[in-house]
Symmetry: C2
Amino acid sequence: MKIGIVGGTGDIGEGIAVRLSPLYEVIIGSRDEGKAAEAGQCCADLLKARGISCTCSGVSNQQAVDEADVVILAIPFRHLEPTLGDLTGFKNKIVVSPVNPMDKRDFFTFIPPAEGSAALMAKRLLPTGTRLVTAFNTVAANRWKAVDEELDYAIPVCSDDQEAKATVMGIINRISKLKAFDAGPLAASPMVECITPLLLNIARFNKMKDVGIRFV
Amino acid sequence: MKIGIVGGTGDIGEGIAVRLSPLYEVIIGSRDEGKAAEAGQCCADLLKARGISCTCSGVSNQQAVDEADVVILAIPFRHLEPTLGDLTGFKNKIVVSPVNPMDKRDFFTFIPPAEGSAALMAKRLLPTGTRLVTAFNTVAANRWKAVDEELDYAIPVCSDDQEAKATVMGIINRISKLKAFDAGPLAASPMVECITPLLLNIARFNKMKDVGIRFV
C-alpha cells in the first residue's frame, strides 16, 4: 500500500512519514518538490541511523495524490480549501483528514467552518466518491517525530465508508502502540476535531507537554 | 465543606453522592423531597454495608442550594433552564455544571445552546457573582455508582474563578484515582462538554461500556 502525505514537509506530515515509512511505501508531497525530496531523505536518514529500513520519497502534492492508495491531508485548516482547490484525482481514493480548525487567543478554541468540521468541509470540496476518513487528529507533532519513543494513545476515526475506515484503523494499529477507535460516521467528526484544542489547553494550563488521550 | 447535589436522585447525582459522602457532608436535592430522603438513605446503606461511614441527607433542591458551599447541577440539559429558573440563592456559591447538551440519533452528537455550552448558558441564567465551574462531565453514571471499583479517569475543569476552580479540583483529586486537569476558562467549556457524546460513540461503535478518558 502506498501512502501519500499532502503537506508532508510540515511538522505533522514529517512525523507521520517517520512512523509510516518503515511499514508502507510513503510519498511525501509538497508544493515545493525540492523541499519534499529533502524531507524524504531526512526521514530515510533518521531511520537508517537507527538500523530501520524504509521507503520514503519526495514529490509534488499532485503526484502524492496520483500515486497513493491512501492520501493524508497533513495541512493546517487555513490551507485546506486552497490546497484541495489546486489538486485533482481524489475520486475513489481513501483520503484522511487530520485537520483541526482552531484558533489561539488566551486559550485554544475549536472554530469549525459552516459545515461543522474540517472533514465535513473537505467532503464538500472533494469529488463524490472520495472515501473520506477523519483520523490522526489527536497526536502532537513532537510525539510523531520522537521516533525512539512509543506512541501509546487512542486515535478516534470517523467515516461513512466502512471499508475505508477499517483500512485506516488497520494502518493506525500497526504504528507503535497506537490504538484506533471507531468514532462513528463523518458527521461525528466535530467531536473528534475539538479534542485537539482541548488537549492544547490541558498542556498549557497544567504545564504538560504534547498531551494525548486514551479511552479507558 | 457541604456539597449540595441538585437533581441528586438521578443516575449521575446518586453516583456522585456515593463517591462524595464518605469525604464531605452531602445534601441530595430533588424536586421530590421524599425521593431525596430515600436516595440519601440508600446511599448511606450502600456505604454502611461496606463499613464506610458517610454523611448524606435528602432535602429539596432549594435547601440543597441554600445549605451547601458547593452546588453540583446533576441534571439533564433539558432541565437546566427550568431548574435554574425555579431556584434562588446561588450568588457567591461555587456551582458545578457537569451538564452535556447532546442528542442521540444514529450516533451521539454535541448540540450546544446559543451560548456555546451548557455552562455558558448557566452563566447567563445565574446571578452575577455565582462562582461557576465546569467539571464531572466525562465519567459515566455506572462508574460513579460502582463503589467497589476505582475511578481512574481524567476530569477536565473550566472556570473563570481560579479559587473556585482550585476548590473543585481539590474535591475531584480526593475521589478514588480521579485526576483533575485545568482546562482553562469557562469559555473553553464547549470542548469539555463535547467529550461525553464522543465517549458514548466510542462505547457504542467499539462495543465497550462506560468509556472514560485519560490525558497522557
